[in-house]
């Protein structure tokens, strides 16, 4: 077997050195009868060529985003990732290293974590950021738990236009941890007066911008109101590219900003692995979940980086830790930070403009299709349309015509008939004029 270096002769010599007769002698600690006899009922070893064949056939039944006019978003976005990013993250020394517990031989990982934390802080307009969470949805759940710890309250208010998967993720942990969680009903027109629901039982208000339906929100006034009741404002950003064009939550008074970083550097990959962004005010640092990388010096006074403040973490604090997270999104962080280093301010701003321009062009084209209504006054690269009939069927019919036209809201919000005609539509820099034209044409045809 190509991955196993020991030869039969090696095994014999080593067993002799250990002083046992055969391999099962090493499994003597296993209770009687519990050692499996023979092989399990699974296929036998395969060469690379055969594995490629089997996997290739599975893959071939799926429709890649890059092969069709593609407008699916709602929390994961098809962006163009420079070839250098994927090349660099595959460098052996990045790909096959562990969590940087031995900093002297992990400065590569540590330095990019430090750079990443800074980039996330700059992007979100926050003071500090951690070294990543699993993804945006789990980061959102952790933000709520952090708010509970900080406020010593255990009730969260979730805006109706929070991505329903994020809402569900928060609800699940809240329910099982015994915390309260109030989720408002969706407001697909983008209008929801959260202030009405505020009171001093709340630890936090969780709000997304651009929201699930694409609307942009000025959080400043809300932040004041939230702070006035002693709660924290948690802002969620699922499309990080938007931060190249719109005001960051940090500038609008958010206390914790969480986000999904997939858009930068990371493939769609059917939903994972992605990278959760987590930023907050400096004063809340000690209650942050996850790893933090900090600057220090070595014995000779040279700058270096280490994981720090680990007294917050499970491996030191065990049941008193701020979170149970251990493995996070290391390599996705790397992809994110490389892509963003390549973009820089100028590149990110232009990328954002291009996304916005493409979305505006698409919205105008779709609005011109008879029977279609665009719900948004404001949006970045994603907006919601209302179609006659059930959106799921429209989307299936579009797929039949080779256009992946967006996400039917009911895919994530199944039991609300009023949402059944809605489609969340995303446009990014990968869409061409022809893609948009194909979408409008197909939509005209299927309606």
């Amino acid at each position: 077997m190509r991955y196993l270096p020991l030869t039969k002769a090696d095994r014999q010599a080593m067993l002799a050195k250990v002083g046992v007769a055969d391999i099962d002698a090493l499994f003597a600690g296993v209770p009687a009868g519990k050692l499996t006899q023979g092989l399990l009922d699974l296929p036998r070893a395969k060469g690379e060529l055969e594995v490629e064949r089997v996997m290739g056939r599975l893959a071939a039944t799926n429709t890649p985003a890059g092969s069709v006019p593609f407008f699916v978003g709602a929390g994961a976005y098809k962006h163009h990732v420079p070839a250098s990013v994927d090349h660099l993250i595959q460098r052996s020394e990045f790909l096959t290293s562990y969590t940087p517990y031995q900093p002297e031989i992990a400065q590569g990982t540590l330095q990019y974590l430090f750079e990443f934390q800074t980039q996330v802080s700059l992007l979100t307009g926050m003071e500090v950021a951690n070294a990543s969470m699993y993804d945006g949805s789990t980061a959102a759940a952790e933000a709520v738990l952090m708010a509970h710890r900080l406020t010593k309250r255990r009730r969260a208010l979730l805006a109706g236009n929070l991505n329903p998967h994020y809402r569900a993720s928060i609800e699940t942990i809240s329910r099982l941890a015994g915390d309260a969680c109030v989720a408002l009903a969706p407001a697909p027109d983008g209008k929801q007066d959260l202030a009405r629901y505020l009171d001093d039982s709340l630890s936090c208000v969780v709000v997304q911008t651009p929201d699930f339906y694409g609307h942009l929100h000025d959080l400043s006034a809300l932040a004041d109101r939230v702070h006035a009741v002693g709660a924290l404002l948690v802002a969620v950003v699922t499309e990080v590219v938007s931060l190249g064009a719109v005001e960051p939550p940090g500038a609008m008074g958010a206390d914790i900003v969480v986000g999904e970083g997939q858009s930068l550097g990371n493939a769609l990959s059917f939903g994972g692995p992605y990278v959760g962004l987590f930023a907050s005010r400096q004063k809340y640092l000690r209650q942050m979940p996850g790893r933090l990388c900090g600057e220090t010096v070595d014995k000779e006074g040279r700058r270096g980086f280490v994981l720090t403040l680990s007294t917050r973490e499970q491996h030191i604090r065990r049941e008193k830790a701020t979170s149970n997270i251990c493995t996070n999104s290391g390599l996705c962080v790397l992809a994110f930070t490389i892509h963003l280093s390549l973009l820089g301010t100028a590149g990110l701003a232009r990328l954002a403009r291009r996304n916005h321009a493409n979305a505006v062009a698409l919205a105008d084209m779709l609005a011109a299709v008879p029977g279609v209504e665009v719900l948004n006054q404001t949006f970045f690269n994603e907006f919601t349309i209302r179609v006659p009939g059930r959106a799921t069927e429209v989307i299936e019919r579009l797929a039949g015509k080779g256009v992946l036209g967006g996400v039917p809201v009911s895919r994530l919000e199944p039991d609300r008939p009023e949402l059944e005609p809605l489609i969340v539509v995303a446009a990014t820099e990968v869409n061409t004029d022809e893609d948009r034209a194909a979408y409008a044409k197909a939509l005209r045809e299927v309606l």
Binding site: L243, T296, D298
Partner: protein, 541 residues
């Protein structure tokens, strides 16, 4: 943006550096590298994007006012920046990575290639299921392998790493108790457990009771029984445990736990010792997470991403979080909402070489592998879990097959015992004569009187060209050194590693203290001041 580099500023022009040094601060191929904030410029970019034609923005009042201040690098600069950073890292590809409990095994590049097939890497989690049948089939296939390997009937696929899997399993336990109308408050955790175990239990509001181990490093069923009551929700046991030992009382413990109506959560981080040899379902486990990034070789990537599917017993099978696959006579169905009927996505594969093509595994209409629960657990995260890791793990499994998986475990255990036998005359084994499983634990008793600590010893290994073992974990022995070679090491590699360890051990005993206290001397950095880092946190530029 400053373009000066505080760290490796070039020697001021026209001054002379000492003869042993270089003017640049570099040392041959070891090149210093500044931060992107020192190298980059906000008006530089390494990505060319066509400026859109003029259009009317729809940002309302929310166009960005804050300047971004992000540095940009041209592509050549970026390339060099990250290549140089990488050169300051150690990886499995550069040498043995004997971190106990971490299973740093070879990461086949085939798996990377498979994950990048457009049909896996370039599909969106919310595109119509009709356009991704192969993706759902892959998830179901991987679950089928995990069911057979664990001997357990249901797999919760979505957890994103081991700790997330623990959360999933413990939530399932809590939900199952709730479904039984019970609310229990205690979780038993042996002292040797990984920090994520108590942290997870605490997250769900459980109080953690610590169970001591007996002298041989394993948990005594009698000791467990002392702590058991109907207020105990579960025991969280790692098996093989973090001392590298198979919990020999495990069957008795499981029985005792079940007897009080509690559940047996197994931390599967050490599954690599027993894949194809022992099935957790056969020894009474109710829930066990599996670190695909350990046992099934998805790359650790400097700290992640991982994937932590959880195998569940029949008692917990109803508490699989959303979404999940269901296999029945019609084929592979997918449940995204509960309660809800599965959406049929694909028929069962007929191509040879897949587990689901084997009738014994694919099951009939009656025995749905994963049954929606009456009180479902809900969703733990957006989308479908760590697809990219599933692809890699499945490629690993297909490559190994039933035969290779078993051989890998045997080799992992053999390698650990070979190290044990080759070092035991110099280094102290806390649990004496017991052979180990896939990792061998030493303590620091043999260093007594040398003035050298476990940490010093570890750092000296760095100078030898090796990544140290796990140190100071588990907490149950003093100055722990936990060595896990994995099956990926050749005998030659082990022999060299042993030679270095023996050389160092003799040096330590011989009084060569400076070698250890000064270590590392030959790495990109000397020992770093962690206290300063924590006292004056500087977490960003």
């Amino acid at each position: 943006m400053s373009t000066s580099n505080r760290q490796s500023r070039p020697a001021a022009a026209d001054t002379v550096a000492g003869a042993g040094d270089s003017f640049s601060g570099n040392r041959g191929l070891a090149v210093e590298e500044g931060l992107i904030f020192e190298i980059g410029r906000t008006d530089t970019t390494g990505v060319d994007i066509e400026e859109p034609a003029a259009f009317t923005a729809r940002l309302g009042t929310l166009a960005r006012r804050e300047p971004l201040g992000l540095p940009g690098l041209s592509e050549p600069e970026a390339m060099r920046h990250y290549v140089r950073l990488s050169q300051k890292n150690y990886g499995i590809d550069t040498g043995i990575f004997p971190l106990g409990s971490c299973t740093m095994k070879h990461n086949p590049r085939l798996n990377e290639r498979m994950a990048r097939l457009p049909g896996f890497g370039d599909i969106h989690p919310l595109q119509p299921l009709s356009t991704v049948p192969g993706a759902i089939q892959l998830i179901a296939e991987l679950a089928a392998w995990l069911r057979e390997l664990t001997g357990m009937p249901a797999i919760a696929m979505t957890p994103k790493a081991g700790a997330h899997g623990e959360l999933c399993g413990m939530m399932a336990i809590k939900a199952a108790l709730a479904a039984r109308g019970e609310q229990r408050s205690l979780v038993l955790v042996p002292q040797s457990a990984h920090g994520t175990n108590p942290a997870t239990a605490a997250l769900l509001g459980y109080r953690v009771l610590s169970v001591p181990a007996r002298a041989d490093g394993t948990v005594d069923a009698e000791e467990v029984k002392k702590h058991l009551s109907t207020d105990v929700a579960a025991i969280m046991l790692t098996n093989p445990n973090t001392c590298g030992l198979f919990e020999r009382d495990v069957v008795a413990i499981a029985e005792a736990v079940h007897a009080v109506g509690a559940y047996f959560y197994a931390d599967g981080a050490n599954f690599n010792a027993i894949v194809g040899k022992v099935r957790p379902g056969d020894i009474g486990v109710d829930a066990m997470h599996i670190n695909l990034h350990k046992t099934f070789s998805t790359p650790h990537g400097g700290g992640g991403p991982g994937a932590g599917p959880v195998a569940l017993s029949a008692a917990l099978a109803g508490f699989v979080p959303l979404p999940f696959t269901v296999i029945d006579g019609r084929g592979i169905g997918y449940v995204e909402h509960a309660p809800g009927a599965p959406q049929l996505v694909a028929s069962l594969p007929t191509m040879p070489g897949l587990a689901l093509s084997r009738t014994t595994l694919s099951g009939g209409a009656a025995e749905a592998a994963e049954t929606p629960a009456a009180t479902p657990l809900g969703r733990m995260c957006a989308f479908h879990g760590q697809m990219g890791m599933y692809v890699r793990a499945l490629a690993y499994m297909l490559s190994h097959g039933a035969d290779g998986l078993r051989q890998a475990s045997e080799d992992a255990v053999l390698n650990a015992n070979y190290l044990r036998s080759s070092l035991r005359d110099l280094m102290s084994l806390p649990f004496g004569e017991t052979l180990c499983m896939h990792e061998v634990l030493f303590d620091d008793q043999w260093l007594e009187g040398t003035g050298i600590s476990t940490l010093d010893f570890a750092k000296a290994l760095i100078d030898e060209g090796y990544h140290p073992m796990t140190v100071y974990f588990p907490l149950v022995v003093h100055g722990a050194m936990l060595i896990e070679p994995t099956e990926s090491e050749s005998k030659l590699s082990l022999d060299r590693f042993i030679a270095s360890l023996r050389g160092l051990a003799l040096a330590a005993k011989g009084g060569d203290r400076n070698r250890f206290l000064e270590a590392p001397r030959l790495a990109p950095r000397r020992r770093l001041d962690e206290t300063k880092a924590a006292r004056e946190p500087k977490l960003r530029w």
